[in-house]
Each structure stands twice: as C-alpha cells, then as structure tokens.
C-alpha cells in the first residue's frame, strides 16, 4: 500500500475519532453546565476550564447576552469555529480532506456519509446558528452523522491494510483523548468530598463516565453506584468497555501486529506492548488512586511516541 494512502487513512481515522470525542465532550459538558450553573457556578466554570485543558485552544469569545448560558460561547468556538484547531468543524474538515485525497481507497458509502455529515455542519456554521438549543440540536445531528460514518466503515470496508491504518488512527486517538480527559478531571474529582452536596458530587462522576462514553456500560457492570473505587478502574482497566484505556491499547496493539504481518516487533509495537502490559497487571496498584497523574502522563507520552514511530516507519519514505 502506498505510504501516502496509509497516511491519509490513518489521519482520517484520527480526525473522525477526534470529531466524535469533541462532540461528546461538548454535549456532556453542556449538560453539566446547565444543570449546575445556577446552583454551583464554580462547578460549571471548572468543567469548561477542563475542556480548555483537554483541547488547548485560543480565546473563547464573550457571552452573547446577559441571559445567555455560560455554555454558549464554548459551544460556538468548539463546534463551529473553522479556525479553532480543536473544533468539530476543523476536525471533520480534516477528516474529509484526507478522505477526498484517497477516495479510491474508500467505499462509496463511507465517503458519502462523511461528506453529508460535514456539509450539514458547514450549513450550520454558515447560517450562524447561535442560540444554545439550536447549537445543541446541531451537535446532536452531527453526533448521529459520525455514528453513521462509523457504521458505514464497519459494514462496507474490506478488512485490508487500509482499514487497519484507519482503525489504528482511530484507536490511538481514542486512548490519547481518554488519557487527556482523565488527566484533566481526576485530580479534582478524587479529592472532592461527597459530604458537601451528595447529588452534585455524583453528578460529576456521572459526567466523567459520560464524557468517556462509558456510563451505560459502567451501569451494566456495577449498577447505579458511582463509587470512585469502581469508576476509575473501570475507565482504565475494564476488558469489555470499548473506551477503557486497556481495551484501546489492546486494539492498537492488535492493529500494529496485523500491519507488521507477524514480522519482527517494531518500535511502535514495543511501546504500546509495554503500556498494554502495564494496564494488564497494574490494576491492583493503581485502582483507587488510579488518578496517578504520573501514569496518565506516561500514557499520553507513549501514545505521542508511538505516533512518531508509526509516522517514521510507514508514512515518511
């Protein structure tokens, strides 16, 4: 397979995953924000600040009016602003640019789904959708569009080398984003005490699970009890939840092995292999205090190094 094509598919995977991640983060943060803004404004504020830490970006504009909820400016910037490198608009455009450059390597269904989702989003941006309910509505539609793309990939793509690169990009991006979310949110959460306001305390843990697309799966495993000792290990080590760090790392490891075709282990494979082993065997040591920032930093670093190694080995001639 051409390095150029592999590169484009890899990035298409990364940008699609990033679009979905940002969309979900915005929806979830908006929920928390409108739930807490009148009651405990600092919680709403810090949720948006966390977002800025996860998606390091330029300035977010001032609120549109005295009645406008806090979320409005953030939604505008991270959803529709084409110049914000961490907006859904930007990420989805990059995914589409990559897709267009290798259209022959995609199925028609995948390209159409991607194109339609982007076009719909562009229309929103052009119309200048401004009020929160419409923004939310449009975000919801985009989220559905992203799932349609994922479904088209699942159902129509041949499981060949191209598919492996696309999935590699997707999984790598997923662990990367998850680690960043955990790093931004866990330190504050694990030190918080439930005594002050129990309902608010659990609202924040629920929001963390939702931010990582894991609330429903968590409930299936542990029910409605949101104990930090259960939530943190679940997000890090669960075997079945497609968004746990362990699951994601396992997926990356698998794709890398299949791309290497059973040949000798490559630098990226070795990096991810070590991380995977840690995630397999460290759950006792980490569990409740899994908030361990050092460990999460290592995840972020490893993914960045793996990305460099993949680029060096496969994409740069």
């Amino acid at each position: 397979m051409l390095s150029r094509v592999a590169d484009a598919l890899y990035w298409m995977g990364r940008y699609l995953e990033r679009s979905e991640n940002i969309t979900r983060l915005l929806l979830v943060t908006e929920d928390l924000s409108s739930e807490t803004q009148g009651l405990a404004e600092p919680i709403a504020q810090s949720a948006w600040k966390d977002l800025l830490a996860i998606l390091p970006t330029a300035q977010v504009g001032p609120p549109a009016s005295a009645f406008a909820p806090m979320s409005q400016a953030y939604l505008q910037s991270f959803f529709l602003d084409p110049t914000n490198q961490y907006s859904v608009h930007y990420s989805l455009r990059r995914a589409r640019d990559n897709a267009r450059s290798v259209r022959e390597a995609l199925t028609v269904e995948v390209f159409l789904a991607l194109n339609e989702t982007f076009r719909a989003l562009e229309t929103h941006a052009r119309r200048g959708v401004a009020d929160p309910p419409s923004l939310r509505d449009a975000l919801g539609t985009t989220h559905k569009g992203l799932f349609t793309i994922a479904g088209a990939i699942e159902h129509t793509f041949a499981r060949d080398l191209g598919w492996l690169f696309l999935k590699l990009g997707e999984s790598l991006e997923r662990i990367y984003r998850a680690a960043l979310v955990l790093r931004a949110k866990l330190p504050g959460l694990v030190t918080a005490e439930p005594r002050a306001d129990v309902a608010l305390y659990y609202t924040q843990w629920r929001t963390l699970l939702r931010a990582l697309g894991s609330l429903e799966n968590y409930r299936r495993s542990y029910g409605a009890r949101l104990e930090p000792e259960l939530v943190v290990p679940f997000l890090l080590f669960d075997r079945h939840s497609p968004r746990s760090l362990r699951y994601g790392t396992e997926a990356v490891k698998g794709y890398l092995e299949r791309i290497a075709g059973g040949g000798e282990s490559m630098p990226a494979g070795r990096l991810i292999g070590r991380l995977h082993a840690d995630l397999l065997y460290q759950d006792d040591r980490l569990s409740a205090s899994g908030a361990d920032a050092v460990f999460l930093d290592r995840v972020v670093d490893t993914v960045a190094q793996a990305h460099d190694a993949i680029t060096a080995q496969y994409f740069v001639a």
Partner: protein, 483 residues
Amino acid sequence: MVFCGAVKWVPETTAYDEAFDRTTAPRQHYRALVSTLESFTLTEIDRRERLQKISLVDQGITFTVYGEKDGIERIFPFDFVPRIIPAREWERIEAGLIQRVTALNLFIADVYQDQKCLKDKIIPPELVLSRKEYKRELLRLTPPRQIYTHVVGTDIIRNDKGEYLILEDNCRTPSGVSYVMENRNLLHRVFPEFFTRYPVRPIRDYPRQLLDTLLWAAPRASESPVAVVLTPGIHNSAYFEHSFLAREMGVFLVEGRDLIVEDSYVYMRTTSGRQRVDVIYRRVDEDFLDPLTFRRDSLLGVPGLVNVYRQGNVAIANAPGSGVADDKAVYAYMPALIKYYLDQDPLLGQVSTYVGLRKDDFAYMRDNLARLVVKTTGDSGGYNMLMGPFASREEIEAYGAQMREAPGNYIAQPLIELSSHPTWVDGKFEPRRIDLRPFILYGETIRVLPGGLTRVALRPGSYVVNSSQGGGSKDTWVLAARA
C-alpha cells in the same frame, strides 16, 4: 401584566396563582423567570416549543392510554414554564412527607401484626379488613427491615390560600418519576437560559438513590445482592418508566416469565444459568404477583413468589399488601393515625373527606353530590370519579344510584380550587391548574427527591390533571437555600 410584548396575562380570580400575586405582579421567586421569558420573541418561543415536541417523539417518551383502541401511544404533553418551589416551602413539604411516610409504614406494619389501631378504634376495622387491598395471606409476615413502602408518590395540591394539602398517598407502584427526570433534561435542552439565574437542586441522582433503597432491603445484605425491576410488559402504560429505571439503575428488567421459584429462592433465567434475585422492584399490581397466592388467572406473576417472600429470601418493593394504606377511605383517618403512632400533629394538612362507610357522611354525600368530588376507593388515575360541580343532572343521578349499591366504596371531598400556573397554550400564557407528586424513598433513611412531577390540567378550567385524562406536566424546581 404584559408578557412578551404581545400576550396579556389574565390572572385567575378564584385560585391561588403560583407565579403571580393578587395584584398580578410576579411573586419574588418567579421574577427572574418572567424577565427571562420577556427577553424572547413569540416566534422564538414557538420555535423552541416545536423543538421540544420533536424531541419527545424522537426519544420515544410515551405512555399508553387505556380504553382507546389498541392502547394508543401518546407523548405526555410537556409545558415548558417551570414550577418553582422556594427552599423554605420545600423544607416544610419534605418534613411533612417524611412524617407521613413514617406513619404509613407503622400503620401497615400494625395492620399485618397486632392490629392495635383497630382494637383501639382509631380506624373502623371493617374499613380496613374488608378492602381487597388488605391481604389476609400476609398476616404476621414481616418484610426485611420492616419496610413496606420503599417508594411512595404522594399527591399534593394547593388550595386558594396557597396552603399545601395532601390529596392522596400512592403506596403501591407510584409512577411518573421518569417524567420528572426527562422533563428536566428537556427543559435544559430547550430553554437553558431559564437555569442561569436559579439554584435548582439536581434530581439526576434519583436512580442511584432508588438502587440504594432497594439494596438496603436485600435479605443477604453482606454479599452482593441482585435487584431487578419486574414489569408487566410492553403493554403497560408505564412501560417506558420501567425500562428507564432498569437502565438507569443498571439492573435487569424482567417479566414474570423470566423468574422462577425453586427451593425457596427466586431465580432469573439467564444464558449462563440461573441467577438468584434478592430484591424485586415490582411494577406489577400485587394481585398479579403470584397466581398461587393472589389471582389464579395471572400470567404476569411468578408462581410461588409469596412463599419465598414469606421465608424472608426475597424482598419485594413495595411490599405486597401496602395498598391497604393508600386507600382513599383510610386517607380520611391519616391525621388520627399520625397522632396515634407518632404523637405528633400532621405537618401537612389534607382535604376534609366524607367516608361512605359512615352513615352520616353518606347521607351528606347523597344530598350534596352536585357540590362534591366523589371517588371510588379502589380506582386510581382519575377513572370512575364524579366531579359534582361539573356534572350534568343525569350523570349525578346515575352516579348516585351506583353509590347506593355499595356506600362503603365511596368517599367524597369538597372541590378544592387547585392552584394555577402560567402555561403555554396555543401561543399564549394562560393559567392552568396543577398538582404535585413528590417521590419519597424509604431505605436506611427516608429521603424525598427535591422535585417531583407537576401535572397540569391542559383544558381550560379543568381540575383533572391525570395523564390519562388530558393532563400534561411541567419541570418542577426546588430551589437550594442560598448560603
């Protein structure tokens, strides 16, 4: 009072209005909401309302209306003007509900144990013992931790003076809490602006609290007990709520056929074999719970379940037999029962009630039907009641004849002017009558969800708020006390 530049506000003359005082000025806790509403144009409000309707249909938030062909699925109409309850008022409601649920439990326990209240003539024995809700089979049977009513939904109204009055206790399978949560979600989505200036207490924690409550009742509390939600199935009017709660609690939603009784335990059939069940949150009427004990023709129940319950190997929430306490005639005796069990005066008032069983009361009822609201003691959901002041002469005569056949099955109350609340109807804000159903959980402690279901009678002048009778609902805000 002018709303949105275009719509005149017409205050009710007789009822207590929640949002406006007699001079038609907004009450203090409604001022911020009114000014936020005034910042919208009518077109904008209209657009938001359409958004909200689409959202309800898309999410499948529906209920089934009985008595219509094929049990039609309808959306539960949602009105976006929230009902606001200040912290101080809520404190009183909360304390009153905790007191009432404590007394209700003591009463049920007494009825199934020593029947002291009957011996002491606090309440006429025939009134309790002749009810079909009284289950002789359960006499002397103590549920785990002596809790009978794990979940209670109590209906509260406000009279023309603005006093909160208890209208009805629902001790069996009170429904509506899923709408409480969905209404909040919906309002967040459609009018997030409303929330920016109010400290609205969160309610999303309810499923977690409900699960805590259920597991507290588990017979083997030390291990990891298993709770399930038992539903009659998809045809039940509250099926949406059953699946909602099961999903939110992360427990199995089961039907009777999924459960079996063997060797004095209840199990559910799973792909990996039988799994023991410790707590059943049953949303099945108790008459259908166990064909071996109650109705033989029940296909919804689990044969042998009551036997397991009797041996203390499963908890059932709410406990079978609890219905004896939410009887409309027992209601008349609640103030006396609170005094009797707790030696306290009721913190919340209730509506004066004529009990058909009492000769004098019945004579009064018979002669004053046109002025009274008459209800049968067995039915709920607004079925089979007479609204005297609004009924035709023929209707009253027919109902009177029906009453004479079994006077003990009827109670009557004066018509209470339910409080009214601004409601968006056909492009205008109009006053509509409302009530309130808070939800109370009885686990390790008694907790009241800070919120509840505010039902609204959407027809002009109507007093009937039931969803099956053309009612809708509102988001209900309980405000936090400002520190």
